[in-house]
């Protein structure tokens, strides 16, 4: 039965992917381009060479973490879209801790910065979870608005209280210093964020699949009233999934600081949180599928540049492909359970 379910998911996802590619082919053909050539370039730019593969994986790293920010609470029935804000707050917390620990041993400081980032993001989305449980505030709206608040808080800090005036052209915070930067994984040009992302997805999968906590969350997500009748601690489940989801996005912010930027600035808010929502939905909130989908979307955006440069397609072309993919997957999801061959024989 499990094999049948997996086969059904895989078949539906593949059908969605192929049909969205076909539609994209029509789109580029209308612009007078050869779809096959465009597909080949897409593949080449995403996975065709060692460099493009590394580019794809670098792109996918933050998406895995921000996708968890939506995917985890979704298992408990919440629709959280606050990954962008949690990432930004996580990044700011990372800088605050990194700067105040100047001179400390690097491994200690890096661990503290990651923890601070995760804590900041966790509390940020956790607040929305708490508002939802105790005050009945819609978590989708509150997390959306919290994104704007987070970005405003960061802008306030980097243009005022923690601004580094040595950086004249762009308001930015004090740097954490090169000693605290973790850089790239040995032998590659991919930063360590990828390892964190994959580990977080695997950890989430274990949590959801092999613990009573994960089971309880799935019950809550499946039927809140049944969960209440069964005496499950609903408030705790909502709060913990929100905090863990926020912590994942906060960690993404920490990694942006310690692996990429070294300081906080407006470049923290470039949309990883929003693309993460897309990843979570395409992965149907499954942490393992998040890894695959993040790499797929990372590949699309990595090869988007090549489409611009080789074919003169606008940057929005990759958004068109992402959108088609999203719609195709949502449409394909309605097909689940309708094919007899995937059904268990016993029924």
């Amino acid at each position: 039965m499990r094999i049948g379910a997996w086969a059904e998911t895989a078949a539906i996802s593949a059908a969605a992917l192929l049909s969205s590619l076909a539609l994209f082919g029509v789109f580029v053909a209308l612009r007078g381009l050869d779809p096959l050539e465009v597909y080949a370039t897409l593949f080449h730019g995403a996975f065709g060479t060692r460099f493009s593969l590394e580019h794809t994986l670098t792109q996918s790293a933050p998406l895995m973490l921000t996708a968890l920010c939506t995917a985890l609470p979704a298992r408990a029935g919440l629709l959280v879209i606050g990954g962008e804000g949690a990432l930004v707050i996580g990044g700011v917390m990372t800088v605050l801790v990194g700067v105040s620990l100047a001179g400390a041993p690097a491994p200690l400081a890096i661990a503290a910065m990651c923890a601070a980032g995760a804590l900041g993001g966790g509390l940020w989305v956790g607040a929305a979870g708490a508002l939802r449980h105790w005050r009945g505030v819609n978590e989708t709206i509150s997390t959306l608005l919290l994104n704007y608040i987070a970005i405003a808080v960061m802008n306030h800090l980097v243009t005022g209280p923690i601004r580094d005036f040595a950086q004249v052209l762009k308001p930015a915070s004090w740097p954490i210093g090169p000693a605290f930067m973790i850089g790239e994984m040995p032998g590659t040009s991919i930063h360590w964020g990828l390892a964190f992302g994959v580990a977080a997805c695997l950890g989430t999968w274990v949590l959801m699949r092999h613990t009573t906590f994960g089971f309880a969350v799935d019950i809550l997500g499946g039927n809140a009233r049944a969960a209440r009748m069964a005496g499950l601690p609903i408030g705790v489940l909502i709060l913990v999934t929100s905090i863990l989801g926020g912590a994942a996005a906060g960690l993404a912010g920490a990694i942006e600081i310690i692996a990429v930027h070294g300081f906080a600035s407006a470049s923290l808010a470039v949309g990883y949180g929003y693309t993460g929502i897309l990843v979570a939905f395409l992965a149907r909130q499954n942490p393992l599928a998040v890894i695959v989908v993040a790499i797929l979307l990372g590949g699309i955006s990595a090869s988007g540049g090549l489409l611009q440069r080789r074919f003169g397609l606008p940057d929005a072309a990759t958004l068109v492909l992402q959108g088609l993919l999203f719609v195709a997957v949502l449409a394909a999801n309605t097909l689940a359970g309708r094919f007899r061959i995937f059904r268990p024989r016993t029924a």
Binding site: H55, N155, L169, G271, L306, R309, D315
Partner: protein, 376 residues
């Protein structure tokens, strides 16, 4: 200087024609002579290429660079200032064989510094003029003195303003924004010392909603010429046009947005970067740090709008020529800031290329209404 020098057609064809017609020695005629090795030139932009602003000013330059002999142009827009900038530049180098890369946003500089040692055969140009001793030799920083064309905009505004109230909308509280505001105000007050200018800093490079609000509020206060130093002044200029006041452009030629009220505009001439491409092609020398104004052909003004009468055009052109000849200095004493502090004493003159002074500008000149927002 004859009035024909800056006709719209010639401006559109590029400053090369305009300069040649004026008998000036621009960089273009010299460039055309050297033998050209084929090269792929990559431009990366932080936003869309047709934004009526910052990115468009670079895209206009890219088109001019593409006309050089042996140059193949590749472009990518909407590249964020993250690790993605680095990957995109590297992708241009590895997958398209780019020999020269134009990184056209401030935040790309760390990526440039990281990539340059890895690709010694590639020339990286960046628009921040951030290069300092010890940075890789295959990186270049260049940037124009935009306060000079702002001065000319101010002169035009000073002649045409009836309310004697001008408006300047700035993005970030940064030295070059203050320089531009000061240029605009000094230009206007050189015509009529009774003129004042409201200076509002929005705090964002790009915040159309706030820019529109500020525009409306300035117009309500009687401002009748407005200029906006934001990523794209489109919203401000369209709003000004709709409400029947005059406007000056910024970054690139935006005259089409305001057929009635457009005066002129302060433009970059990033095409000056063509000399770097040529240097790569011929193995010639190039500066690592280049700043300049009209004298170095690194800035320009937009074609005059029809609101500007011929005698004002002539005056503005003459002052432009004075910048080229270096006979006109922007900052000269006696000069006070708008809080009454003496900045320059009578007789003190700051050279137009005095970077030390200009990079430290943290004041608004007398006549400005508003605060820098900086702690001093």
């Amino acid at each position: 200087m004859p009035d024909t020098v800056l006709t719209r057609r010639q401006m559109l064809e590029g400053s090369a024609a305009a300069l040649a017609a004026a008998g000036l020695e621009g960089i273009w005629p010299r460039l055309a002579q050297a033998a050209a090795k084929p090269v792929t030139v990559g431009f990366i932009y932080v936003g869309p290429r047709n934004d009526y602003g910052w990115n468009q000013s670079h895209a206009v330059a890219a088109k001019k660079v593409a006309k050089l002999e042996g140059v193949k142009l590749i472009e990518q827009e909407n590249v964020p200032e993250t690790v993605e900038a680095e990957k995109v530049m590297e992708s241009m180098i590895r997958q398209d064989g780019a020999g020269v890369v134009f990184a056209t946003s401030f935040g790309y500089w760390p990526s440039v510094l990281k990539l340059a040692p890895k690709h010694p055969g590639v020339l990286f140009t960046h628009i921040g003029a951030l290069w300092k001793d010890g940075d890789p030799k295959n990186t270049i920083g260049y940037r124009g003195y935009m306060e000079e064309p702002h001065y000319l905009c101010g002169v035009a505004a000073g002649h045409l303003s009836k309310s004697r109230k001008l408006g300047f909308i700035g993005s970030k509280p940064l030295y070059f924004i203050f320089n531009n505001a000061n240029g605009f105000i000094l230009g206007a007050r050189s015509v009529n010392p009774a003129i004042t200018c409201q200076v509002v800093i929005t705090g964002d490079w790009n915040n159309p909603v706030r820019e529109a609000e500020v525009t409306n509020s300035l117009i309500d206060q009687g401002v009748d010429v407005i200029v906006a130093n934001v990523d794209s002044a489109k919203v401000v200029i369209e709003n000004a046009e709709r409400r029947g006041i005059m406007s000056c452009g910024y970054h690139t030629d935006v005259s089409e947005l305001a057929p009635k009220g457009f005066l002129t505009g302060a433009e970059w001439n990033w095409a000056a970067g063509a000399q770097f491409v040529k240097a790569w092609q011929t193995g010639g020398a190039y500066p690592n740090l280049l700043r300049g104004g009209f004298r170095q052909d690194m800035v320009a003004i937009s074609p005059f709008g029809k609101a500007v009468p011929p005698e004002v055009r002539t005056k503005v052109q003459a002052l432009r020529q004075a910048f080229v000849d270096d006979s006109l200095k922007l900052y000269k004493g006696p000069l006070k800031d708008n809080e009454g502090n003496v900045i320059l004493k009578d007789g003190q003159v700051i050279a137009n290329d005095d970077n030390k002074f200009k990079l430290a500008v943290n004041f608004l000149v007398e006549g400005a209404i508003g605060k820098t927002g900086l702690k001093k």
